[in-house]
């Protein structure tokens, strides 16, 4: 069964450093997403991406965050200058076209900022 894959599975970084989280969405999907889950809290929407541009973003997705689809397969989330409160599990997700189509999530990337 096709799946969303994410790397790294776990990353520890120092505060102020830049981090790039990588994702390979399901191959025929056109919509891509990042969500995050701070330990013990809800899964929160960050950003959606379609046709090589951001289609929607939440208040969390401020100027320190950016997304990119550098080639035909990868989808990345960059955090420019990490803060302690960025420590979370970051989930990449993708879906096919259509209003009701299911959004499929990857296994997540644990980011720990120290």
């Amino acid at each position: 069964e096709p799946e969303v894959t994410q790397t790294p599975s776990h990353q520890v970084t120092q505060m102020g450093q830049e981090v790039i989280l990588r994702c390979v969405p399901i191959s025929n999907h056109l919509y891509f997403y990042w969500y995050r889950q701070i330990l013990g809290q809800k899964v929160e929407f960050l950003v959606s991406f379609y046709n090589n541009e951001i289609s929607e973003k939440s208040e969390i997705f401020d100027d320190q965050f950016s997304v990119e689809r550098p080639d035909g397969s990868n989808f990345t989330l960059k955090i420019r200058s990490t803060k302690l409160e960025d420590s979370a599990m970051y989930f990449c997700a993708s879906r096919d076209t259509g209003r009701g189509n299911t959004i499929y999530f990857g296994e997540g990337s644990w980011l720990t900022v120290v």
Binding site: Y35, K42, V43, S55, E56, T102, Y104, F105, G106
Partner: protein
């Protein structure tokens, strides 16, 4: 604005007994409703969804959920629980009025299901 409530932080059930994990929602339009499961140190796995049609939807691993519009609920059920069902369960909603490109799911806080042997 859309929201989801999962009133129980934890549900304990004996193996072989039926289980229910509760979810209520609030949207301004019509809801798309989803259940996801998260096993320890794993990602979110899709279980089932309600888009339209039959109020009782069946999903993976023998789970089902019933959409109740009047009670704005979408409770997850399984007739006979297995120890392997022990995990964290998330209900999520999307407002049907959203544009096709917007798929901002709003999640509940999750319910930890423990199935006791």
């Amino acid at each position: 604005a859309q929201s989801v409530a999962q009133p129980e932080d934890q549900v304990n059930v004996a193996e072989g007994n039926p289980l229910t994990v509760k979810c209520t929602y609030s949207v301004s339009g019509n809801p798309y409703l989803f259940w996801y499961v998260q096993y320890p140190n794993r990602g979110l796995q899709f279980l089932l969804k309600y888009i339209t049609g039959d109020n009782l939807v069946k999903g993976s691993y023998g789970f089902e959920a019933e959409f109740n519009k009047s009670q704005t609920s979408f409770h997850l059920k399984k007739p006979s629980a297995l120890v392997s069902d022990s995990a964290l369960y998330f209900c999520a909603v999307r407002d049907w009025a959203s544009g096709a490109g917007s798929y901002q799911l709003t999640f509940g806080k999750g319910t930890k299901l423990s199935v006791i042997p």
